[in-house]
Symmetry: C2
Subunit: 450 residues, 2 copies
């Protein structure tokens, strides 16, 4: 096992521990991100409780999932929103769906590996004294068989939704079904399955165009990942070698991120043919035929992403260590989480400088309300009652990735002017209080549409 | 068992089947909403596959979950977004969190009732020939004990996140933790657990203010539900009678919707004291004390909503049957799904009238792109190649709840003018193509801020 720190030098500042399972098929990560210095649980919280082990060494052998703190949760939320908009609001016809995470089917694709059982039912079964060992085994087997299974991906759900969706598009190809949410992954024997936040686009197209569509979506997805990156070249796409292909797939492409510790796939695209679609609908071809496909059954291109890993990639990509010269000739290191404006969990922090605290707070409250109505997420720094220097505050906000810090002071009460500091330039500007909301809105939407 | 139709007369148009379990504790619903006439799967799809029964009568005895089609999915998405904004962007300090849906803890609150087991592990266990019946029973018991359990609500997760969150607020009360997502509910013996889309706010406050906060959040929530209602009086709040209280709770309030078939709770608020919080943190009071609470452990107010039922409530509340006089003196019934503008899954439909199809479609494509960039969800009706009358189209869009229908015709190519029909007034107006996007944006945000 290897434990990697995102930043060995500043272990107390921002730390990512990553554990590798030896088998990489369903690789899982233990992600700990803490900025204990500024007391912000930035992204992911330790989930030792998930698999109660005493030593972190053991975690490697177990399935590990990530639990998010407030900032990490907002970051992932922003990322998922962006994914959703980019896929469902492209010119291509993509519909969102929401399928069940559990099902009675013991269908294909490993859906039967994880089962939900009710402890009550098992208990009742084990209490039946009169049963022989063979009968007991049989009863348990049938209990498991009848129990619902948890999904490991969204593919099966989308394949099932294909027929009802045909009505929406009047049997016209191509179209897609998108879904995001929780999937469960078996544990490779440890008994502790992992939870993954997945994104899924299942694209139905005519057989002769499936390879072109695979290329189209690869370009689309790579462009999307790079849009939010500080160094876009860390994101790349690569054809899956023949020997690593999934059974049903004729071609595959991976969108890869180069983490400091190696490459990992963020999204995987497969050209899957129509075998699974036919299987799901019990080979009733007539139900599946579409208008564009010359009476043949459509082919499927699947695009599956791991957004927990996506969050990690952007955190890793955004953290910058900048040398900074101090006035007293001291060389300090500035750590800035340069998350893309649309991804940053907090857009603006509101703080107060010198002046009558009560009045200044009232101004902040009003501004906070204004930001919230404009859906600009703001950090109420003015609520803080423990004294901190502006220097310390800026350091904390830079680590949190806060885009701008607004400081309200006595001057604001007199002239309406406030100070705005930018995370990326560290330049402090003076603005009028009436223009700050529009300034922020324009800044974020400009970054979104660039 | 009773099956209720939302509208018996137009069974083919919009149908809700509801099945009642006799015990109402964890009531579940089978919700079928289909507009087979206009071939739109409006909201919820039949989930017979979830529990394979031959007759719908049997469904009553089983746990039933809802699977959503594209429009229902968007509606629920909009509803969840609104809930999230109203709770996390109120002046109160509420942080979003994301906890795991499964955990190793066999803790309180029924978390241990549902377990995830891996079929492989059970199989391996049952294959051990040399075991006696007693050993087998013991091994199965320990397998179940060691397995992860699925959450039935978000309370436990939030209580666990309380301590790390204290760092965010510098141990200052009050603050809240919000979460939305999937929870699982035991099946009352059928072996088929249900999935529920829950919303949860867990509010931590000083002991002496907990009852006031319960009232505050009750007003807040009721106001929110009513904001989106066509007839707000169908939503009400009611104190939970003492005999129905949860064990830990000293007071409870339910937000109730009067469905045509009776009342059902949408959101439940409890003033829970601090027993569960103490239990979760093994009675280590020093960890839990906050600055505002005079060295005492904070009290908890929980607000838990069922958003699948919320979707149903708004569908039920929004469907109107209007008498309409036709030019030929025929009296027709117009069925309109008058969903609130921010909830409506589709804001605008784009269709083409008379004229050169290729050019008109190009105009539509451009407009669609413009709408999507402005995050106005649009329906590409112009892609439809089967001929339908404008009358039929309007009827279909009214049933879908589409706010406006824009028709591009020859006239648009010449003068830039297009026709906009309103769902709510049925009035057709002529507008210039350059002003349509802003008109829609303003209309939706006006409804949002009213």
């Amino acid at each position: 096992m290897r434990i990697h720190y995102f930043n060995r030098q500043s272990l107390d500042l921002l730390r990512i521990m990553l554990s590798y399972p030896v088998r990489n098929v369903l690789s899982r990560r233990l992600c700990v991100l803490k900025t204990s210095q500024c007391r912000i649980i930035l992204a992911l919280q330790h989930t030792k409780r998930q698999c109660s082990t005493s030593s972190s060494e053991d975690l490697d052998k177990l399935g590990i999932s990530c639990s998010y703190g407030p900032l990490g949760m907002e970051l992932r939320r922003n990322l998922l929103d962006q994914w959703w908009h980019s896929v469902t609001r492209s010119t291509a016809q993509v519909f969102g769906i929401n399928t069940l995470s559990s099902s009675k089917d013991t269908a294909t694709g490993g859906r039967g590996q994880l089962r939900i059982v009710e402890t009550e039912n098992v208990k009742r079964l084990l209490e039946q004294q009169e049963l022989s060992k063979e009968q007991l085994i049989q009863n348990i087997q049938s209990l498991i068989q009848r129990s619902t299974s948890l999904r490991t991906n969204f593919l099966q759900g989308a394949l099932e939704q294909f027929v009802p969706s045909l009505e929406l598009v009047n049997r016209k190809l191509p179209f897609g079904l998108a879904e995001t949410g929780l999937c469960f992954q078996p544990s490779d024997g440890s008994g502790c399955p992992a939870e993954v936040t997945q994104t899924s686009l299942v694209w139905f197209c005519s057989p002769r165009t499936s390879s072109q569509w695979l290329d189209h979506w690869t370009r689309h997805r790579l462009k999307w990942w790079r849009k939010f990156a500080l160094s876009p070249s860390d994101f790349s796409s690569r054809e899956v070698p023949e020997e690593e292909r999934e059974e049903a797939a004729s071609r595959g492409v991976r969108i890869i991120y180069s983490f400091p510790w190696g490459e990992e796939p963020l999204e995987t695209l497969w050209s899957r043919g129509n075998t699974e679609l036919l299987q799901t609908h019990k080979d009733v071809r007539s139900k599946l035929q579409c208008r564009d496909s010359r009476k043949s059954v459509p082919h499927v291109v699947s695009v599956t992403g791991n957004m927990d890993r996506g969050v990690l990639a952007f955190l890793s990509n955004s953290l910058q260590h900048l040398k900074k010269e101090e006035s007293k000739q001291k060389l300090l290191q500035r750590k800035v989480l340069k998350l893309h404006p649309v991804l940053a969990p907090v857009k603006v922090a509101l703080d107060i400088g010198r002046g009558a605290t009560v009045e200044l707070r009232q101004v902040c409250e009003g501004l906070l309300q204004e930001f919230m109505e404009a859906k600009i997420s703001a950090w109420p720094g003015y609520l803080e009652t423990l004294p901190v220097s502006m220097e310390q505050l800026n350091a904390k906000y830079d680590e949190m990735g806060v885009l701008f810090t607004v400081v309200i002071s006595e001057n604001t009460l007199e002239s309406g002017l406030l100070q705005v500091r930018s995370r990326d330039t560290t330049i402090k500007e003076t603005k009028h209080i009436s223009e700050i909301k529009n300034f922020l809105s324009r800044y974020i939407s400009a970054a979104d549409n660039s």
